[in-house]
């Protein structure tokens, strides 16, 4: 691994040196490079399309707003910079010498910020080689109605084809048959292990602090690795470099405040601080106290804090420091018996990045990344003397330190090369329990921390060989080591597009992915109890292979009805090997059971199997105009097969979903009023429900000597246990279909010193009682009739109205 790393560095450094030191004859090609920023804030813009109008020659800005384009030397050429939601800039250049060109784009509010792009830029979907990738402008996320008015990135992603939600109101993401653990969620390069607040009803991402959100669900570029099903790449805003700005919002359950501005007077840097906190605890505490006559106090809250600073050390060097810190905490105290219970979890991430420009064609970024997720339960009961009568502490978590070095190299107009290396040092704490009782006897059950190393080396090239072809080919070599167990896995990736007509292309992709960390989850709804565990000698890495084909069509002309529409149709087939699940009967509560004398290894509670998923996805977008939005439809099948589950037969996992529909519409009624609405439909979850009960028996006790006789033991079939009959198949019960409509309206007004927005929204407009879970219950009957059993559907959210008040200054 070290050898490869040195080789990579050597090649890149040499290329930089050579590019700078060699004597240069009159150039036949020249390189234009620079940064693209937003006018006003000077925020670096990601994914700006930089191209020579009328040709297929072009590139896009990287995560730091940098671009480089090498063109034939000529006296005059035009270069265009376009980006969704911004006015396109065209510049005429004398291309006799290489030059640096930094460009500012002016935000154009009504231009197209209401559109969803099917790739990173506003280039046509038919022109990109990348498929299965969706970028959602943060500005748009703010316009889509949200539950309790809390704008949520992950819930908007759930509205896209190929992406499914779990249960009602949950932020869990299921991409093309994969579980929520198979999503690589990265915030400024740092992995976020649990993206849920409030038991999954909200995600940890505060939209005010985000600059970009991009989801890749297939055709993965080689720079990404470590998860099977998707990459959700989020970048925080850098902060306004020109002057101090802020945003604030007050909603029903939370308030937010964001401040951003220049870091120094020379405007070479900027900062951003954004915080959010709920006040459920403040609202609920007096109610709980009143209802329990002061005997019980309880509260729940979550908060999160995003912060980022950046500074230009010179023309070639920039540093960025960003971090996220969030916590959820539930606590309750019962005064009469002096019992306290507390539950808490949260993520902390930190990223230190150093951009260095070796020359106009070679850009590098070195990142030092920290990520930590912790979950804890604490409970204690005090004696009258105030000492512990009983106490319990349970902790689990995962902590990462990571070093990553990436290079973007633009050798010619036909090639954009990215390569890099990353090493992640994970420390897992699967569970640690400390129990103490009156006798001051202490019981400790601590599964030792598990330290592992995960690393990857990659190279990819976006190649434009001929006018009609675009190819992104890449290769990733991933490596994992835990004690004596090591895995070295090659991961080829390729995606290609062939342009049939200027507005129509066909695309195909193949990706092989490996995943070395696993999530043990009984629910799949992102509960904090979900446990991250590593690959070990007994649990092998998960591996997937995915093939996708599709067409992309842009409606660039035609009738007024179809103009601005973009259609993508994709089919995929994905196989997953060595996916893990709890064994039948196991749950996180049974790991490290403190009543068990023998130590339980978590591997004893899991079993490995395989899965496969296939389906078709249709996305029809309306990108421009006062009415915009999209219609998505997914038809899919997902099946799992585990030797130790369901008798070895294949079965549909809980979130197998045959049909999934989403309709999103945003209408700019006027400059001051924005209307929006969504409607979603999904086939019900596959669940395991009992269909009957019956008595089971042990073999009759063997005859016992008279001297040891126990009359009860001599009768056969005496020892009985009642068991549930779940039918022949696991998950054979289909929940009722899920559907829901949300609407929202925003009133904008520009005041003297700020812009204010009132927002009203209604979640679940027609109050559909969507199933959250089902339960069998006993129901008393009139007269002397025996109680009967009935099936009850529990829903969590009927119609929920919300309002919020936001200002921007």
């Amino acid at each position: 691994m070290q050898l490869l790393y040195c080789l990579l560095l050597g090649v890149l450094t040499a290329s930089g040196i050579w590019a700078q030191k060699l004597p240069r004859p009159a150039p036949s090609v020249v390189t234009i490079s620079g940064y693209v920023r937003e006018t006003g804030s000077r925020e670096a813009l990601i994914g700006v399309n930089v191209y020579v109008p009328g040709t297929s020659t072009g590139t896009a800005t990287n995560t730091y707003g940098f671009y480089s384009l090498t063109l034939p030397a000529q006296d005059s050429t035009r270069l265009a910079f376009s980006f969704v939601g911004y006015q396109t800039v065209e510049q005429t250049l004398n291309l006799r010498n290489s030059q640096t060109l930094n460009v500012s784009l002016l935000p154009g509010r009504l231009l197209s910020e209401v559109s969803v792009t099917a790739s990173r830029t506003d280039e046509k979907v038919s022109e990109s080689s990348q498929m299965s990738q969706i970028a959602i402008p943060v500005a748009q996320i703010r316009k889509i109605p949200a539950f309790l008015g809390e704008k949520d990135v992950l819930k908007v992603l759930q509205l896209m084809p190929g992406v499914q939600k779990g249960s009602e109101g949950q932020t869990g993401i299921y991409v093309r048959g994969g579980g929520p653990d198979q999503n690589l969620i990265i915030l400024d390069d740092a992995i976020v292990y649990n993206a849920s607040h409030l038991f999954g009803f909200f995600s940890v991402f505060n939209g005010d602090a985000l600059k970009s959100v991009e989801l890749t669900k297939g055709g993965f570029p080689a720079r990404y690795g470590g998860r099977l099903s998707s990459v959700i790449d989020l970048n925080m805003k850098d902060g306004n470099r020109e002057k101090l700005h802020g945003e604030a919002g007050i909603g029903l359950i939370a308030s937010r405040l964001t401040l951003e501005g220049p870091l120094t007077k020379n405007r070479k840097g900027s900062f951003l601080v954004s915080g959010r906190r709920t006040y459920l605890d403040v609202v609920a505490a007096p109610i709980i106290r009143a209802q329990t006559k002061g005997e019980t106090t309880a509260g729940y809250y979550f908060y999160d804090l995003n912060a980022k600073a950046n500074y230009d050390l010179g023309d070639h060097d920039k540093i960025y420091l960003s971090g996220y810190f969030g916590r959820d905490r539930f606590s309750a105290r019962n005064n009469p018996d002096a019992t306290n219970v507390a539950l808490g979890w949260g993520n902390a991430t930190g990223t230190l990045r150093w951009n260095h420009l070796f020359n106009q064609k070679l850009f590098s970024n070195l990142s030092l990344i920290f990520s930590n997720y912790r979950f804890m339960i604490a409970s204690d009961q005090k004696n009258s003397t105030g000492t512990d009568r009983f106490s319990l502490d349970y902790n689990s978590g995962i902590r990462d330190w990571s070093l990553k070095y990436d290079f973007d190299y633009y050798p010619s107009p036909r090639h954009s090369v990215r390569m890099g290396v990353q090493g992640v040092y994970h420390r897992f704490t699967p569970s640690a329990v400390v129990v103490q009782n009156t006798n001051v006897n202490q019981y400790r059950e601590r599964i030792d921390n598990i330290d592992v190393l995960e690393s990857g080396l990659y190279a990819e090239d976006t190649w434009r060989p001929l006018g009609r072809w675009r190819v992104n080919g890449g290769f990733r070599l991933s490596y994992f080591r835990q004690k004596d167990v090591g895995y070295l896995r090659p991961e080829p990736r390729v995606s290609a597009a062939y342009t049939i007509r200027p507005d129509l292309s066909v695309k195909a992709s193949y990706a092989l992915m490996n995943q070395y960390v696993h999530l043990l989850s009984n629910t799949g709804i992102g509960l904090p109890t979900d446990l991250w565990v590593p690959t070990t000698d007994r649990v092998r890495p998960q591996q997937s292979q995915q093939v996708a084909v599709g067409i992309a069509k842009d409606f660039t002309d035609g009738s007024r009805l179809t103009r601005g529409l973009a259609l993508t149709v994709e089919g995929y087939y994905k196989t997953m090997a060595n996916i893990i699940n709890y064994r039948e009967g196991a749950s996180f509560l049974l790991i490290g059971d403190p009543t068990t004398a023998e130590r339980v290894r978590w591997e004893d509670n899991v079993t490995a199997g395989r899965g496969w998923s296939y389906g078709a996805e249709i996305l029809l977008q309306k990108k421009t105009g006062r009415l915009s939005g999209w219609l998505g439809y997914t038809l899919s099948w997902t099946q799992w097969q585990f030797a130790e589950l369901n008798g070895g037969q294949s079965f549909y996992p809980r979130y197998d979903r045959r049909h999934d529909i989403s309709v999103v519409g945003i209408y700019e009624l006027s400059k001051h009023i924005t209307l929006s609405g969504t409607w979603v439909y999904g086939t019900g979850n596959a669940l395991t429900m009992p269909v009957g009960r019956y008595a089971t028996y042990q073999p009759g006790a063997a005859p016992v000597d008279n001297s040891m006789g126990n009359p009860l033991m001599q009768r056969l079939f005496q020892e009985t246990r009642t068991v549930q009959d779940y039918g022949k198949q696991k998950n054979a019960f289909r929940a009722e279909a899920y559907h829901r409509m949300d609407i929202g309206v925003q009133f904008h007004k520009q005041k003297k010193h700020h812009e204010r927005t009132w927002e009203f929204s209604v979640y679940n407009l027609y109050s559909r009682r969507n199933p959250f879970f089902y339960q069998l219950e006993s129901v008393s009957q009139i007269g002397n009739q025996p109680a009967r059993t009935a099936l009850f559907r529990y829903s969590v959210f009927p119609l929920v109205p919300a309002f919020s008040y936001n200002i921007k200054f």
Partner: protein, 316 residues
């Protein structure tokens, strides 16, 4: 603008007032899988049997039942139950007093290595079939008494006594075992209520295993070796001794153990293991549901063979 604002506000309030229904709703029973009651067979054959016995009950469909009650087994008394091997067969007769079908083993001995077929036919037309084979005998070689500090929550530091046995696993074939134990003792307690009427008497209890175990084990990864059994804890004695923290000889005047080793079929192992795991979840909604496997075609339950060895020892 203001009108629209007020309209939105009043519309929101109206919808909230209108939507005050329950979030818990009964679902039409037809929505649940329409399963009918099934025949449940529990039959375990062994060469050590003194009687050939089959328990036949009917399952209760979930919606025709009350989840709040214990299922004791709704016996099917009028079925035709036949066990056969080769060209021999025997029809079992139902005993209303005992609650199961039975036949004398003198008429139909159970022999290791043989395969037995079971056919159940009910008057209403249900037919269930299964077959089983009888594993060979496995002798217990040693039995031992030991103790350990109690790590359970409310008994820190106390001693837990347990027995273990060892046996030689037959090489080359997968084997599945079940342990059972009976602990018989005369306690030293002088204040126990049971002693008030007279002299101390023998108390017999069953042994228990670690949480999550019912004494099932396999020879996976230890094929052909000398296998040490799971710990069989001596239970039910703490109320019958004066000083529970005393040493073993001071606690008991007399203590005997009888350990049974059942060499069982895989079908038996999977069935009993699943029953244990299902009961262990204790209604935990987050636990993975446990499906109970069955080798009964046309029904539920288990028809399996086993071969039993026993050892009795005096504990000191």
């Amino acid at each position: 603008m203001k009108q629209l604002f007020l309209l939105v506000l009043s519309g929101g309030l109206a919808t909230v007032l209108w939507d005050c229904g329950s979030l818990r709703n009964e679902v039409n029973p037809a929505f649940l899988n329409n399963e009918t009651a099934k025949v449940v067979v529990n039959g375990f054959l062994s060469p050590q049997d003194t009687v050939l016995a089959i328990k036949l009950t009917r399952s209760q469909t979930v919606l025709g039942d009350s989840v709040g009650t214990v299922v004791y087994g709704d016996d099917i008394p009028n079925a035709t139950v036949t066990v056969s091997t080769g060209d021999r067969s025997v029809q079992l007769t139902y005993s209303a007093r005992l609650g199961y079908y039975r036949a004398s083993v003198s008429q139909f001995p159970i022999v290791a290595g043989q395969t037995y077929r079971l056919v159940v036919q009910t008057p209403s037309g249900y037919r269930a079939e299964s077959s089983c084979s009888i594993p060979g005998p496995v002798a217990i070689e040693t039995v031992a008494l030991d103790s350990t500090a109690d790590t359970r929550l409310n008994r820190f530091g106390a001693r837990r006594f347990y027995t273990t046995i060892r046996w030689r696993d037959p090489v080359g074939i997968p084997n599945f075992y079940q342990l059972r134990g009976l602990f018989q003792f005369v306690g030293n307690c002088t204040t126990c209520p049971e002693y008030a009427s007279g002299a101390p008497r023998l108390i017999t209890t069953t042994t228990r295993f670690d949480a999550g175990s019912v004494g099932l084990t396999t020879d996976a990864e230890v094929d052909g070796s000398l296998i040490l059994s799971p710990r069989a804890y001596l239970t039910g004695w703490r109320n019958y001794v004066n000083n529970p923290d005393g040493s073993f000889p001071t606690l008991f005047k007399t203590a005997n153990i009888r350990m049974d080793l059942l060499n069982v079929e895989q079908t038996y192992y999977r069935y009993q293991n699943a029953i244990q795991r299902q009961s262990q979840t204790g209604g935990n909604p987050f636990a993975e549901p446990v499906l109970i496997p069955s080798n009964i075609q046309g029904g539920l339950g288990c028809f399996a063979g086993y071969n039993q060895s026993s050892i009795t020892a005096r504990l000191k």
